[in-house]
Point group: C2
Chain length 649, copies 2
C-alpha cells in the first residue's frame, strides 16, 4: 500500500502499442529493470508488445541522478507515479525509486472489459523504514542459487531491500573461502556457494535494489567451522557438522590469539567478497558449557576480570568489532551482543522481543526488529502484520530513540525447509511483513491486507515462485498416480503446528539428512480455506442464523468435509507418507458431521440436547489436538456452530 | 508398455540407501544419464540418497559396448530390467538401452504402504520402430531453447528418439547462418538460434538418446529466406516474413544456377552444424503461381521437357539431393518429393495419408508416417493412438515393403502455439503416439493407455513441463485476482475446435504478432473430465439406469455445471478475454439442467414429454456448435440421457 494514493478518472489501456521511454539518468540497473518490467508485463498480460515507431511512449520514466555503486542504507527510494487515461509518468530521485514504481505499476494491471488496464491514479510513495529485510538460512538446509534468485525476484515485487544471508551455523558452512578452504571443504558436505556464485547473486540483487548482508554466526552456532579447523573451538576433539537442530556446546575459543588471527584473515576475505557496508556476526544463543569446562578459559576470565560468560562474549565481540571496523564495515549482531562495552556504531537485531529492541535504542544503539517476523513459526500473515517495529516497548521511546530503529527483517530459518518447500514457507506471508515495513504505520486493516496478499500471491506465480505449485507436486508424490482431489481438500484445512512444537512427537529428533516429504512439509503455513470458512460462520452467527446464502455455503463445505474421509481413506492406507494423516482425516469428517447437525438444530429452532453437545465438544477437543504435526483449522468455527445450537434463543 | 513384462513377487524398496553401480562400458551419456536418473528419482520420491559406503548397489547397470559418437538410425536400443525384492539389474548392449531402461525404472516407482517401491518384474524391451520422432515448428512462433530442452526431457521419458526441428518457413528463418547472415538477420525478427545454441541443444539431445534433424523447407514455405535474399525467389519484388498462416505464392527459383550455388554453400554449412546423417528439405505445399507467372521459368521448363510444376519440383529436388548427398547426408522430404526421378535412398515423410506412405514403400522408398499424428489438429490421444504406421494401406504391403516403413513422427505445427502453451499442446497426448511407435502392434487397449497416459502426465510435471500449470496461469491472467474455480470448471469441459476449423470465425485471419491468450489457447486439447463423464453415463445407461453410485456422481457433475454460469457470469463480463465465452458458459448451464431433468424422468420411470425432448435437443444442437473456437465436450453424454428419458421402457 503506497504512502499516498489519489484515485483519478478512467483507465489506461495496456495493448500491443505499449512502450516505455526513459529520460534523466540511465544506469545499468535502471535499464535492466525497465527491460525486466516490460518482459514481466508482457508475460502477465500475454501481450507481445510491438510499439509503433515514433509514437509517444505509454510510460515515461525519469530518474534525477544515479544510485550508489554499492547500495547504501537510507538511499532515497521514493517515487511518484501518475497514470491518466492517455499515459503514465514515473519519476524518482534515483533508479531505486524507479524500480519500486515499476513494481507498483505491475500491481495495478488488471483485466477489464476493454482489455488489460491500469486505473488512473496519482501515487506518491516512499518507505517507512530504510531497512526491510528477509533472512534466509542456507546452513541448516542448503538453498541453491536459483532458488535464492527467484526469492530475490519476489522480494523486489514487495519492495524489500535487504537479503540477510545466514551462511554458517552448526550444520553447514556454505561459502567458499580461498584463505581457509577447509571451511567449505569439510564443513559443507559439498553444498556451498562459490565466490563466483556469491558475486553473481550480489549483482542480481543489486539490479533489483537489494543489499546482500552475509552472516557468519560466531562464537556459538559455529560447529561447521571446527570440522576443518578444530583448533578454533573451546573444547578438544574432532568435530562434524550437526545433523539435527538445537543449541550445541561447541564454541569458539575467545581467549586465544589464533582465533583472532584467523578471523582477521577470514573477515578481510569476506569483507571484500560482500561489498555491503554491514557485516553480521551472529552472536546468538551462546551456551557457555565449553567455556565453563576449559580451565585455560576460566583462568583467562579471572585474569581479565571477566565475571561471566556474557562478559567473555562481550570481550570477544569487541575484538571482532575492531576487525570488522578495520575492514570498513559496520557490525551487526543478534540481541545477545548488546553490552555496554561495545561501541554505539553496531546494530542490534532483536529476535528475543520488542523490549530488547527498545532497550538498545535507549542505550543509543541502532536496531532491527525480527521478533514477531519468524516465518518458521508458521504464524498467520495477520499475526505478523500486527507486529510493528514501533509498537510494544518501542512506542514509549523518544523521537530520537525511535530514529534508531531502522526497520526489520523476516527470518526463514531452515530446520524444516528444503529448496522444494522454501517458497511456500516464505510466501505469500512475507508480503504482509514487507508491507508493514514499507507502508505508513496507520495501514493496519487486516481484511484489505488479505485482499492485497491474495493478489501478490498470484503475481508471484508469474515470477516463477513455487509457493503454490510445490504443494501440488508434494501431494502428487504422496498419492502416486491416484487422484488428489480428496487429499487436497484435507490439505486445504490444516496448518503445521506453530512455534517450536514440531518434532516433539514420537518421530524423535529431526535428521537433516532425511526427507521432508510429510503432509506437514507440504501444506501452506496458513489455510485460506479455514480463514474464509471462519469468516463465513461469523457472518452467519452475526446475522442471527438467518443468512441463507451463508448457510448454504457453510453446508456445502461441511458436507464435503464430512464425506471426504470415505474418499480419502483408500489412499491413506496405500501410502506410507499418508498413514499418519488418517486420524486427521477422520477428525475432519467428524467436524463436518457435527457442524451439519448443529445447523439442523439451528434451522429447526430446536435446542441441541446437552448430551449431544457434550459429546460433540469432546470430539472437537480431540480434533483440536495436533496430530502428525498438523492442526485442523476449522475446529473453532465448527465449535462456534455447535455451541450456538445449544444456546436457548 | 514394454515388449515383454513378467511380473515377479514382492517389491524393491527405495530408501535413503538407494545406490547405483555401473559396469561394462562407460561413456559420457551413460554417466550423465545415470546422474540424471538418480536426481530424478530423488526429486520424485523426495528422498535425499545417502548410500552406505561399501554396501552392494541397489541397481546394477551394465552396457556391453559404446554407442556411436553420432547417434545412428537403427542403433540397438534394447534393454533388460530385472527387479527382485533385494535389488535390480539393468543390462543393455549400448548406453541407449540403459537410458531407456532407466526411464522404465522411474515409471515403476510408486508409493506403497512401506514407502516408495518398484514391483518385482522382469522386462525385456526393444522398440518396434527405429524412428520415433516429434516435429517442433519453431518458425511460425519461435520456441526458445529452454522450452525445447524440457520437451527433449519429456521425449526421453517416453523413449522418443528424433527431434525434427522445423527451422524455416514463410514466417521466420530461425537458425544463424554465418555464410548468409541475412537469412536470420532479416528473416527472423531477431528470434533465432545461434550456432552455439544449436550445438548445445544437439549435445543435450545426444545425452538423452535423441537425434536432431533440421528441416529447411524449400522450394515453397520459404518466404523468410527472401527477405534477405530476394534473388532466390521466382517472383520479383521485396519480401517480408509472413505474419499469418497459409500457403503463399513466393517460391524459390529452380531454373537459375545461383539458387543451387546458394544452396550448395548453405547446405554445406548446415550439414556441418547438424551432425545427423539425415537432412530434411521440406518440399511440401508448392503452389506454382510464381512459376506459372514467370516467362523465364516457363521457357526453362519447355527447354528441359518439364511438363508441369511437379516435374519442375522434381528437377529441383534432384539438384538439391545431389548437394545433400555430397555432404554425406540422406535427404528427407514430405510426400510431395516422391517422384520417379529421385533416387531410392531418399526418405519420404507422409503427412497426406497412409496411402502415400504405402505407395512410397511399394516404389522402394523408405518412409515415415506423420498423417494421423498432427498434434495441432487437437485430436484425442485415443484417435492418435489408433493410427498405426503399418495399418490402413500399409497393411497389405509385403514384408520387404513393410521394412521400409521406419516409424513415424508427431508434428507440433506452431500457428497457434507460443512458448507458454506449447507443452500442453504436445503433452500428454504425444506419449500415446510414442507408445504406438515403441510398443508391440498388439498393444491397443485404449482404457489402459489412458491409465498410463495419466501416470506419464504426472511424471512430466517433475521434469518441469508446463502442460498442466500453464492453463492455470492463463486462467489467472483472464480472471485477474478473482477466484478461478468456476472458470476452471468451464475450462475442464471444453476443447479447442478440431482440424483446421479455428480462425474461420468472425475474428478473421490470424496475426502471428498478436497475443494467444484466449480460452481456446489455454484449454487442454483433450478434456479428461468430459471423457470420464461420458464413461460414467455409458456405465449408467448400460446398467439399465439402476447404478445409483454412478447416478449420484452424474447428478453431482450436472448440478455443478448447471449452477456454474451464475457463479462465472460476473467474471465473464469484467474481462475482455472472457466475454466471448459467455455463450459457452450459458450452454453448459443449459446442458446441466437438461441432464438433471432427464435423470428425474428416468428416476420416476416417467416418459419425458415429446415437446420437452424436442426443446432439449434443439438446445443441445445449439450447444454442439463451436463457439469462441471451443467445443463443449459433454454434449454427447447429455444428449444420451435426454434421449434415453424419452424412450419407452
Amino acid at each position: 500500500m503506497p504512502a499516498s494514493v489519489q484515485p483519478g478518472t478512467g483507465q489506461l489501456l495496456i495493448d500491443q502499442s505499449f512502450s516505455v521511454a526513459v529520460t534523466g539518468t540511465h544506469d545499468a540497473s535502471l535499464n535492466t529493470g525497465v527491460r525486466r518490467f516490460q518482459a514481466q508485463l508482457s508475460t502477465q498480460t500475454g501481450i507481445p508488445f510491438r510499439p509503433k515507431p515514433g509514437a509517444p511512449p505509454t510510460l515515461q520514466i525519469h530518474a534525477d541522478h544515479a544510485r550508489e555503486a554499492v547500495q547504501k542504507l537510507g538511499e532515497d527510494e521514493s517515487y511518484e507515479l501518475t497514470i491518466t487515461d492517455s499515459g503514465a509518468k514515473l519519476t524518482a530521485l534515483t533508479p531505486l525509486g524507479v524500480l519500486h514504481g515499476l513494481e507498483t505499476f505491475l500491481q495495478l494491471v488488471q483485466p477489464s472489459g476493454s482489455g488489460f488496464s491500469v486505473p488512473a491514479v496519482t501515487i506518491k510513495d516512499q518507505p517507512r523504514f530504510p531497512w526491510r529485510g528477509l533472512l534466509i538460512d542456507a546452513s541448516r538446509h542448503f538453498i541453491p542459487i536459483d532458488v535464492l534468485k527467484r526469492n530475490l525476484d519476489a522480494m523486489t515485487a514487495v519492495k524489500m531491500n535487504v537479503l540477510h544471508w545466514h551462511l554458517s551455523d552448526d550444520q553447514g558452512f556454505r561459502v567458499e573461502s580461498k584463505v581457509f578452504p577447509k571451511l567449505q571443504g569439510m564443513g559443507s558436505g559439498g553444498q556451498f556457494y562459490t565466490q563466483a556464485e556469491v558475486r553473481d547473486l550480489i549483482a542480481y540483487a543489486h539490479d533489483r535494489g537489494i543489499r546482500v548482508i552475509p552472516e557468519f554466526d560466531i562464537p556459538g552456532h559455529a560447529t561447521a567451522w571446527y570440522v576443518g579447523y578444530p583448533e578454533l573451538a573451546s573444547g578438544p576433539g574432532q568435530y562434524s557438522s550437526e545433523r539435527r537442530g538445537g543449541i550445541f556446546d561447541a564454541i569458539m575459543d575467545p581467549t586465544q590469539e589464533r582465533t583472532y588471527k584467523f578471523l582477521d584473515q577470514f573477515i578481510a576475505e569476506m569483507a571484500k567478497l560482500f561489498p555491503d557496508a554491514y557485516f553480521h556476526i551472529g552472536g546468538d544463543e551462546v551456551n557457555g558449557k565449553q567455556w565453563d569446562a576449559n580451565p585455560k578459559i576460566q583462568q583467562f576470565m579471572k585474569a581479565h576480570n571477566l565475571k561471566n560468560n556474557q562478559d567473555l562474549q562481550a570481550y570477544f565481540n569487541q575484538r571482532v568489532q575492531k576487525i570488522v571496523a578495520k575492514n570498513h564495515k559496520t557490525m551487526v549482531g543478534w540481541d545477545e551482543i548488546l553490552h555496554p562495552d561495545l561501541p554505539k556504531t553496531i546494530i542490534v537485531q532483536s529476535w528475543r522481543g520488542q523490549q530488547s529492541l527498545a532497550d538498545a535504542a535507549k542505550q543509543g544503539y541502532s536496531g532491527l526488529l525480527s521478533h514477531g517476523y519468524y516465518l518458521d513459526l508458521m504464524w498467520s500473515a495477520a499475526r505478523h502484520y500486527a507486529v510493528d517495529p514501533m509498537g510494544d516497548a518501542a512506542a514509549t521511546l523518544t523521537d530520537q530513540e525511535k530514529s534508531r530503529i531502522l526497520g526489520g527483517e523476516s527470518c526463514q530459518w531452515a530446520e524444516w525447509i528444503t529448496p522444494e518447500n522454501v517458497d511456500s514457507h516464505i510466501w505469500p506471508r512475507n508480503a504482509a511483513i514487507a508491507e508493514r515495513l514499507w507502508s505508513p504505520q496507520s495501514v493496519t486493516d487486516v481484511a484489505s491486507m488479505y485482499t492485497r496478499l491474495n493478489a501478490v500471491s498470484l503475481d508471484l506465480e508469474w515470477l516463477g515462485l513455487t509457493h503454490r505449485s510445490a504443494r501440488q507436486q508434494m501431494l502428487h508424490r504422496m498419492a502416486g498416480s491416484a487422484d488428489i482431489t480428496a487429499l487436497r481438500a484435507l490439505a486445504d484445512v490444516v496448518e503445521p503446528v506453530k512455534d517450536y512444537n514440531r518434532g516433539d512427537d514420537a518421530k524423535g529428533l529431526s535428521d537433516f539428512d532425511g526427507p521432508l516429504t510429510r503432509m506437514v512439509d507440504a501444506v501452506y503455513p496458513e489455510s485460506d480455506t479455514a480463514r474464509h470458512f471462519g469468516e463465513l460462520v461469523q457472518t452467519f452467527v452475526d446475522g442471527g442464523y438467518k443468512d441463507q446464502a451463508a448457510e448454504a455455503q457453510i453446508r456445502s463445505w461441511l458436507t464435503m468435509w464430512r464425506d471426504n474421509d470415505a474418499k480419502l481413506h483408500p489412499l491413506l492406507d496405500q501410502s506410507a507418507l499418508l498413514q499418519e494423516d488418517a486420524p486427521v482425516s477422520a477428525n475432519l469428517s467428524a467436524l463436518g458431521a457435527a457442524g451439519l447437525q448443529a445447523l439442523d438444530y439451528l434451522d429447526k429452532a430446536q435446542l441441541a440436547p446437552d448430551a449431544w453437545e457434550t459429546q460433540q465438544l469432546a470430539s472437537i477437543a480431540q480434533a483440536k489436538k495436533p496430530t502428525a504435526d498438523l492442526l485442523l483449522m476449522i475446529v473453532a468455527p465448527v465449535q462456534q456452530l455447535v455451541q450456538a445450537s445449544a444456546i436457548p434463543r
